[in-house]
């Protein structure tokens, strides 16, 4: 085990509330038996863990109060929790909790809340589906518990921002979010991950668990805005009971390494999930999305639309697994992955992975890899649009459908300029998109 992991384990043990100790012990035990994946591990074939081979330290017990002004975040009017370098920042957090919504930090949980958290924590994590989950457990010192009462409808989005600053040397951070939506409740959750422009290297080990009871509905946005040297290995693990609905929107700008596993477990008939995703690595960045939909029961549906634009010498991986169990008749599953390579050295490894053991199902999947359409580029130019601007319009146009489909207006308003400017810093080239 590398030094940083030892240090992180020690730091976590010092600062965690006592009731988390069994979780940590469980994690330590499992982690000690975990072999780090190599390029020979099928699920890690295209993604190297090389960026982890450096010294990370556990974050300081008290984080320095560094300015966070230069971190762009969506402006949302609901309750907002901000963590910086792994520490909760009360002065940056705000918002009233609407009736029916409970938002508690693990560190603040009373004994009754702690018992509920402990009972649910880890229940959406399927063994073996997340290699770094034991490390997350082992180093868990604080996290967030979001709970929505039965039949409560929370209209304002809950925003949780996990930030890393350039204040510290290379640090490792454990992020954990547990979401429990009781029967027939609904909520919108925005998770933002971002770093300062001058950010030192940070390794974030992130896990979000979503537990949707019967009839619950969650709109979930997970925005990975970290850039530069940031390393993020994380995942979202959802368990859906009957007639529940999960709408997920995932974005990953590139950084040194991002590996995100999205696992949805349909446990009740009539559950539906729709996952949209965008990944935009450039330079020598790497983004790796692994999705897995477990259709364990009949009459569930899933729809995935992931699009990537890979520039320069960047690498992206998309692996979309759909597992339809023998009893999961009448499943309808769709998976679409489209990729645009804007350079000869850009790389995409895309693989739909379907395992179907039921015979009465509808399953559609498709993956495409393309360059900018030269005919479309020419057409725009015949109308006088300069080449550089036409290229920006076509690149943005490639992801525009998913951006337009973002239901939360504030998230869309935040992302549109941010995404358009990924393709051109010169405002003249984006003026007709924005």
């Amino acid at each position: 085990m590398s030094d940083f992991m030892q240090q992180a384990l020690a730091a976590a043990a010092r600062t965690a509330p006592a009731w988390l100790e069994p979780v940590q012990a469980r994690g330590r035990d499992a982690w000690s038996k975990t072999a780090l994946p190599t390029r020979k591990t099928e699920a890690w074939k295209y993604t190297s863990l090389q960026p982890l081979q450096q010294t990370f330290s556990a974050p300081a017990t008290e984080s320095a109060r560094s300015p966070l002004d230069d971190i762009p975040l969506p402006a949302l009017d609901g309750p907002t929790l901000v963590f910086a370098d792994g520490h909760y920042r009360a002065e940056l957090s705000h918002g009233e909790l609407p009736a029916g919504l409970n938002l508690v930090r693990f560190a603040d949980a009373n004994s009754e809340q702690a018992a509920r958290i402990a009972a649910a924590l880890g229940s959406a994590l399927q063994p073996g589906r997340h290699v770094f989950a034991p490390l997350n457990d082992a180093t868990l010192a604080d996290g967030v518990f979001l709970e929505v009462a039965a039949n409560a409808h929370i209209d304002t989005p809950v925003h949780i921002a996990w930030l890393t600053t350039g204040q510290n040397e290379s640090i490792s951070i454990t992020q954990r979010l547990l979401v429990c939506l009781a029967e027939n409740s609904s909520a919108t959750l925005v998770e933002s991950f971002a770093n300062t422009a001058t950010g030192g290297t940070a390794f974030t080990n992130g896990i979000t668990e979503l537990l949707l009871a019967r009839g619950a509905q969650l709109n979930h946005y997970r925005l990975h805005l970290e850039q530069g040297d940031a390393v993020h290995i994380g995942g979202v693990h959802a368990r859906q009971e009957a007639d529940s609905l999960l709408n997920g929107f995932h974005l990953a700008l590139g950084s040194a390494l991002k590996r995100i596993d999205l696992v949805v477990d349909h446990q009740g008939s009539g559950a539906h999930c729709a996952l949209d995703g965008l990944y935009l690595p450039r330079g020598t960045e790497t983004v790796d999305y692994h999705t897995c939909i477990e259709h364990a029961v009949p009459h569930c549906t899933s729809q995935e639309r992931f699009r990537g634009i890979i520039a320069d010498e960047a690498t992206a991986v998309f692996n979309g697994r759909i597992h339809i169990h023998p009893q999961a008749q009448k499943t309808r599953a769709e998976l679409s992955n489209k990729n645009l390579l804007t350079s000869n050295k850009a790389e995409i490894n895309t693989k739909p992975e379907l395992e179907i053991y039921a015979d009465d199902v509808q399953c559609a999947h498709g993956a495409t890899v393309a360059q900018l359409d030269p005919l479309a580029l020419h057409y725009l130019r015949t109308r006088g649009v300069p080449r550089e601007e036409a290229e920006v319009m076509l690149s943005y146009g490639f992801i525009n459908e998913l951006v337009e489909a973002i239901a939360q207006p504030a998230v869309q308003a935040f992302l549109k300029p941010l995404l358009a400017r990924r393709f051109a810093r010169d405002a003249r080239l984006t003026r007709h998109i924005l």
Partner: protein, 248 residues
């Protein structure tokens, strides 16, 4: 307006245009007819600078400027407009954004101030109305899911907004029913002026019943083999093209 001399062009090393001469004066409407594969569409694409279409000899001047050395967008800025036979679908780029980008670029080249959004929207809606295209099409992706007729009307709408000097209409009449043909013809007629010229590339003389050309040319084997007035189109309708191959 347009002066083409001895133009030779090839596509994928296959010679298509083999010494084409054509002069179009200001305000004139010329029709180019000819059998399949004679090079009619190639002419438009070569003038617009489409990748893969290479000029091997000859020259083409628009308003006294050498067209062939300009980038595609510079040709558009100068006043060239090619209405496509098969307009390109571009999902994700809205018709409106695309049109505003086009009009801004062309106006900038003419040293005209950029239109504010309100004025532009008004003009775009008027152009839609003139070609009988629902204004809802402005919000859709460029040509995305448009029917054949809608695509042709979208081309015409762009042409109205860009106010070009030379309009090349590549089989704009193909695939249109008689009502749509009338709409398109009215649109073109409304744009005719002493400073704007048209080249109508067409298979059928039907379009020429609605738009009366000043000159009619027959393109065959990559060259113009016969020119005349409107009566030539009527003669072609009656006799076909075969007799001209003997002439050529």
């Amino acid at each position: 307006m347009l002066k083409i001399d001895n133009l030779h062009a090839s596509v994928e090393n296959k010679a298509i245009l083999k010494g084409l001469d054509l002069t179009v004066g200001p305000g004139e409407v010329h029709a180019i007819m000819g059998p399949n594969g004679s090079g009619k569409s190639t002419l438009g694409h070569v003038l617009a600078g489409r990748p893969g279409y290479s000029v091997t000899a000859g020259s083409a001047q628009l308003l006294g400027q050498d067209l062939l050395t300009l980038d595609t967008e510079e040709r558009a800025h100068l006043g060239l407009f090619l209405a496509y036979q098969y307009p390109v679908e571009i999902p994700g780029v809205s018709n409106m954004e695309f049109l505003k980008a086009s009009v801004d670029a062309v106006r900038e080249h003419r040293n005209e101030a950029a239109l504010d959004s309100v004025t532009f929207m008004k003009q775009a809606r008027e152009a839609c109305k003139a070609v009988d295209l629902d204004a809802a099409f402005l919000k859709r992706g460029v040509n995305e899911g448009f029917s054949g007729g809608e695509k042709k009307r979208n081309e015409l709408m762009q042409m109205m907004l860009l106010a070009p000097k030379l309009c090349i209409m590549d089989e704009t009449d193909s695939g249109l029913d008689i009502d749509a043909l009338q709409v398109v013809a009215n649109g073109i007629n409304a744009m005719r002026s002493g400073e704007r010229s048209f080249i109508l590339v067409t298979h059928y003389q039907r379009l020429l019943n609605f738009i009366k050309p000043d000159r009619v040319h027959v393109l065959s084997g990559g060259r113009i083999v016969k020119s005349g007035d409107h009566s030539l189109a009527l003669e072609l309708e009656e006799r076909g093209y075969a007799w001209l191959e003997d002439v050529a």
